[in-house]
């Protein structure tokens, strides 16, 4: 009777989660038929929140990079979408091109930003975002804070446009989520976790810290850029302040804090919760913001690990399996 170790990566919980996610994807994809143009617009908003939360969570929760300037990628992607479509490119191709530009911008930014530590990095990102905001304001097409519109999207009939935007949002969100999932399950995932837990320790055992951080940073830049371009496509209006505004950072923080830092499930739950709160309470104006703040304070004090930090450990196995589960089994 010898005990043997059995290593698994999934289980009942992850299969149920996969089924739930698949169901959510099908419902979202079918939104245009069931809930019309308005429903599609809301679905895009939900997907944008999911992208922002998951990407900010990857950055802060996995790579330990707390950025308050992710609006850099959000705003620049929206701006390049406007610029490219004004130059005659199809607006949907302009969105895809802007996502690629976001990735390139993320890489270039990482070359000098990643050598900054904690607070310096956070403030540095904010400075870059403000700088980009000012540069965008100087473009005569944007007319300062007056802004302009993604007018070429009106070339599509409204039902077509809202459906395509939704499906594009769904595809981009799934692609980014899949990339993050694959990354976390790969050997780099182990390196990411090591860097998060102890950067010096990780370096001492041979992890290339900068390279590891860069991979996450560029992925987060890409996903946030996708969110910015999609937000523009669903709202048409580009006013620099509405895209580079610091309120987006607050939303990202809220979603990740409430959902649970360091877990994909947490970010997903945080985004859905934020979406639900916004849907039902946004009309209360200033009190809605006060309420958001109150909820954030409550979670910081009572559930510092967020909702998933409470739910996750009570489930058998992982919902989104990124780690390894080791069981003793008797043979």
């Amino acid at each position: 009777m010898s005990a043997q170790l059995v290593v698994t990566r999934g289980g009942t919980t992850s299969r149920i989660t996969l089924a739930l996610l698949a169901f959510a994807v099908i419902v979202l994809a079918a939104t245009p038929w069931f809930f019309g143009v308005g429903g599609s617009g809301r679905a895009v908003a939900l997907l944008v929140y999911v992208l922002l939360a998951v990407m900010w969570n990857a950055l802060a929760g996995f790579a330990g990079l707390v950025s308050i300037g992710q609006t850099l990628f959000f705003g620049v992607a929206a701006y390049t979408t406007i610029r490219l479509s004004n130059a005659g490119l199809d607006p949907y191709l302009a969105i895809l091109a802007s996502v690629a530009i976001g990735a390139v911008l993320g890489y270039v930014t990482s070359l000098f930003m990643l050598s900054l530590k904690d607070g310096e990095f956070a403030i540095g990102m904010w400075v870059l975002s403000s700088l980009a905001h000012l540069c965008v304001n100087l473009d005569p097409l944007i007319q300062g804070e007056t802004g302009t519109s993604l007018i070429s999207l009106n070339g599509y009939a409204i039902e077509t446009r809202s459906s395509i935007t939704l499906w594009l949002a769904l595809v981009l969100t799934l692609a980014v989520l899949a990339a993050l999932f694959a990354l976390l399950r790969s050997p780099t995932g182990a390196a990411i976790t090591a860097v998060r837990d102890d950067e010096l320790g990780a370096r001492s055992i041979g992890v290339n810290v900068i390279r590891t951080k860069r991979i996450v940073f560029v992925l987060a830049a890409t996903g946030t850029a996708a969110a910015g371009a999609l937000w523009l496509a669903s709202n048409l209006n580009f006013q620099p302040r509405a895209f580079f505004g610091v309120h987006w950072t607050a939303y990202m923080l809220f979603m990740v804090l409430v959902g649970g830092l360091g877990r994909i499930e947490g970010a997903l739950i945080g985004a859905v919760l934020f979406f639900v709160i916004e849907t039902f309470f946004a009309s209360y104006g200033a009190w809605y913001l006060v309420g958001l703040g109150g909820v954030a304070v409550f979670f910081a004090l009572v559930l510092p690990n967020g909702l998933w930090g409470w739910i996750g450990p009570r489930l058998p196995g992982e919902a989104i399996p990124t780690g390894y589960i080791i069981n003793k089994s008797k043979t």
Partner: protein, 428 residues
Amino acid sequence: MTFDFTRRSVLLGAGAALGTFVLGRSQALAQATVPLKIGFISPVSGPLAGFGETDGYILDRAREALAGGVTMNGTGYSVELLDRDTQSDPSRAGQLARELINSDGVDIMIAVSTPETINPVSDACEAAGVPCISTVMPWEAWYFGRGAKPGEPSPFTYGFHFGFGVDEFYRAYISQWDLIETNRKVGVMYPNDADGNAVRAVLAPRLVEAGYEVIDPGAYETGTQDYSQQIRIFREAGIEIFNTFPIPPDFAAFWRQAAQQGLHRQIKIVQTAKTGLFPGDIEALGTLGNNIASAAYWHRDFPYTSPVTGLNGVALCDGYEAATGRQWTQQLGASLSAIDVAMAALAAAADPKDKDGVAAAIAGLTADSIAGVVDFTTGPVPNVAHGPIIGTQWQPSEKGPHQFDYVVTENATDPNVPVVGTLVPYNA
């Protein structure tokens, strides 16, 4: 047989009674409770609050008038006006529009005053396919500023804007400046923003064509504190007309410095736009506000009646002054005219709940309003209807009760408006 007959008659009778009940009830429902929801977005607080200050009063009057519901194409509707304050924040304006569309399900949207309010709301409506009526900003900044190209078909389906443009300013200024003998030298202060750059590009060249010499020291940044450079240029050039499109704090700073350096003594006409629309702007200048000329998109002397409320300009303004104790402003008629046009738009469609139908109907709409006839069939571009700009002057009031009287001095863009005052030279 008898039983059968009785049973049948009972059933028939019951069916008829039920049918009558259902029919009667559905008619009653249609007459009273099919709701039409109208969104109304304007800046009531924040830096643009002067524009929204009077909207509460206007909405009360409109709600009173519409309380009994309306009948359109034989169907009765109740009307609900949902007003929202942008707090002068453009991103909040867009957010409010999306909420009104998605959560409240408005049938038509109204957006009033300034590009910061109207453009995001118009875009949100265009994105969601909800008809939108807007007024009080230059239509060029609404149409071209949102990316439409001259000579191409209109890219907008659901947004419609009515009101003044640069051409109305040009005609009003030419008409106004001919009222006084001057040397035709115009000093201009146009800021580096959407409005300032538009008037510099379009209005200034037309003034030159009309025989005026335009002295432009260049665009200044909003919030500038020191204007001695510009004042020196204006003094050396010997300008007698001054024209500017600033935000109120910048004009107050500029005009005080100009007075300290004696520039105000040589100027016969001070023609402001964007500043000087409301009594508060002028009162803040003290005696320097005396006889500043302005241009109005509405005035209490406009000889029109609001179809929705049945009020004319005088009745509306007297009612406002009695209710609030404050002086009337030109925004009263402008905001009410937007409600007039929105109601006319809903009535013009075969079914006011059909958003595509309403949008299509507005394209061919000619509507009466308290600001005059709004005609979308003869606009300068599709989706836009002309509106007037009337030359006016803030003259110190002799009879009171307010510090200034806002007097109409010319009417080139709407000859129905009576000219009751004479333009007084600023330095007289």
